[in-house]
């Protein structure tokens, strides 16, 4: 072997480190994309870890949680008054307190999404151009009112009391729906949620497909992150856009091939463990008396809110 080492490998070119402070290599769109892709792994681990804690709602049977979530989402959608919506908000808040969930991280997410998808999106509808009523906050004053075809543009355009009430109601409903969903996600590992969907008579085959897909997202994210590191280790500068596109195209083909092979392997592994076309999932253990009690209490509370 020794005699076969090519002469160039015996040389040691440019052994001195360069003068520092030259030009910078900017972060490419691939780096940015893959960085956020790697975030999936982090989020997944964080969800699993934070959802596996100990506390009031964490320990409740997942099937009860899923039914609670569906029932309360229904109540949120049916009620159109502020008081019931506030009651639901308060109920979730108390459950969070009892379960010792980190309120700051929880509500930061809920309020941010609620602000974007509840408040910002519905805000224009509170203008008197859309919702008629008494203007409480004028924005634009025109010289006169305009009418054309079906439309009426008033002389003073502004936010109406009725509009503000509709927007507040909608924002509150979005915030409530989000906090109910995040409550489940923060206190229940995702694989448990999938399994608990059995209580809603979702077929086993469908559940196993969701769970395999969820698992594959992580495998996929890891392969992509590893491939990126492997490329980075051989890059002595920035890739040109065309080269970057080639790399992405090549890697997509590779992942497609690898996914196909993995799919075959998973199927063989299932067959090897006795799979013959019919999927039988592990049956849950019995719901305890405590869980029934809590479930009944939450159901009564939801019915009360619905009735008020």
């Amino acid at each position: 072997m020794r005699n076969k080492i090519p002469p160039f490998l015996l040389t040691n070119p440019s052994s001195l480190p360069p003068e520092r402070g030259g030009g910078k290599v900017s972060m490419s769109y691939i780096d940015k994309g893959i960085e956020s892709f790697a975030g999936i792994l982090k989020e997944g681990y964080a969800q699993w870890e934070s959802a596996s804690g100990k506390g009031f709602f964490y320990e409740l049977d997942t099937r009860i949680k899923v039914v609670f979530w569906l029932f309360f989402i229904l109540v949120v959608s049916l009620k159109k008054e502020i008081l019931p919506e506030l009651s639901i908000f308060f109920t979730v808040f108390v459950i969070l307190l009892l379960s010792r969930v980190n309120l700051v991280t929880f509500y930061r997410k809920v309020f941010l999404l609620g602000f974007i998808f509840g408040f910002l999106i519905s805000l224009p509808s509170s203008l008197n151009v859309i919702t008629h009523g008494e203007v409480i906050f004028p924005v634009i004053t025109l010289p006169k009112a305009y009418d054309f075809w079906l439309y009426h543009i008033p002389g003073v355009i502004g936010f109406t009391a009725e509009g503000v009430s509709v927007v507040s109601m909608l924002t509150l409903r979005v915030i409530n729906s989000l906090s109910l969903s995040f409550l489940i996600l923060y206190t229940t590992p995702f694989p448990e949620i999938i399994k608990a969907l059995k209580v809603l008579k979702v077929p086993d085959a469908f559940l196993i497909i969701i769970s395999l897909t969820y698992k594959y997202i992580f495998i996929f994210a890891r392969i992509v992150a590893d491939m990126h590191l492997a490329k980075k280790s051989r890059l002595a500068g920035a890739l040109k856009s065309a080269e970057a596109r080639d790399w992405i195209a090549g890697r997509i083909a590779f992942i497609f091939k690898k996914t196909q092979l993995k799919c075959d392997d998973v199927f063989k592994a299932m067959v090897g463990r006795g799979f013959s076309g019919e999927i039988k999932l592990y049956q849950y253990q019995k719901i305890t008396g405590r869980d029934w009690g809590l479930g009944f209490f939450l159901l009564t509370l939801g019915s009360l809110i619905l009735w008020v």
Partner: protein
């Protein structure tokens, strides 16, 4: 003179799971260095930190007395210098091979370094001869066997003529003949002046290489650094870090129990 130096390196995955705790080591010119430890002890993470692919959450890493950081590796000149000098061979060759054919794969590195196409081709031909992969040059990487992929992966790094070669579990999943070939290649490259750093839990490989060894514990700390002989003779240490274990097997009709290490007892 230490070419690579790690000082008090800590690393956590997803800001939660510790992979390395307070790791310090130095690797000198022309050295063979092995990082050993059981599964999950942080060997591969340490190797990736030494190659500037991951960055420590605490502590510092130096290459030729230049700190490796996200900032320093964004400087064009330093990035080029560092990547030219340090080659990394991944455990999974599949993720490392991303060009359409073996020839493209081997040409990628030298062309990145700005070599003329003729000079790059000359390098590639020499490497192909050395690794006995000339017949594979037009094949796509997915049509290669595991051993062939490993040769191509090593070749793709060697064409850049690195000063330091980092190899993650180089012999894992390879047949005995390819393992011997690889071992001879590593020794020859080291004799040619390359620094060899491997991460492995294969004690016989450490023995064959007679490298200086850093042992990582399951608590992700450096347990001991010493010569191959010192480490391999330290039975208590190897038991503690789970690299050897109690083993029951048959000798004829009788069962026989002893502490198991292919190096310490069988030497095979």
């Amino acid at each position: 003179m230490e070419i690579i130096r790690a000082e008090g390196v800590h690393y956590n995955y997803y800001n939660r799971f510790p992979a390395l705790i307070d790791v310090s080591l130095g690797i000198s010119k022309g050295e063979k260095f092995a990082i050993i430890g059981s599964n999950g002890s942080g060997k591969s993470t340490l190797l990736q930190i030494l190659s500037g692919l991951l960055f420590p959450s605490q502590g510092r890493v130096f290459f030729h007395n230049n700190e490796l950081s996200e900032k320093s590796l964004r400087e064009k000149d330093f990035l080029r210098f560092f990547r030219e000098k340090v080659g990394f061979v991944f455990q999974d060759s599949d993720i490392q091979l991303f060009c359409p054919t073996v020839l493209d794969e081997l040409l990628f590195g030298p062309l990145q370094l700005g070599l003329e196409k003729e000079a790059a081709l000359e390098r590639v031909n020499e490497i192909m001869q050395m690794l006995k992969i000339e017949t594979l040059k037009d094949r796509p990487s997915y049509m290669l066997s595991g051993g062939e992929k490993k040769r191509v992966a090593i070749g793709s790094v060697l064409t850049m003529n690195p000063e330091v070669l980092l190899l993650d579990e180089p012999t894992s999943g390879l047949d005995p003949k390819t393992q011997v070939f690889l071992l001879e290649l590593i020794l020859a490259l080291n004799e040619a002046g390359k620094i060899i750093v491997i991460a492995t839990h294969d004690l016989s490989l450490v023995d064959e290489l007679q490298a200086r060894v850093a042992v990582l514990s399951e608590e992700h700390r450096i347990e001991k650094i010493g010569t191959a002989e010192e480490i391999l003779r330290d039975e208590a240490l190897l038991l503690k870090v789970n690299l050897i274990h109690e083993h029951v097997h048959y000798h004829g009709q009788t069962t026989h129990t002893h502490i198991h290490s292919h190096y310490l007892f069988h030497r095979h």
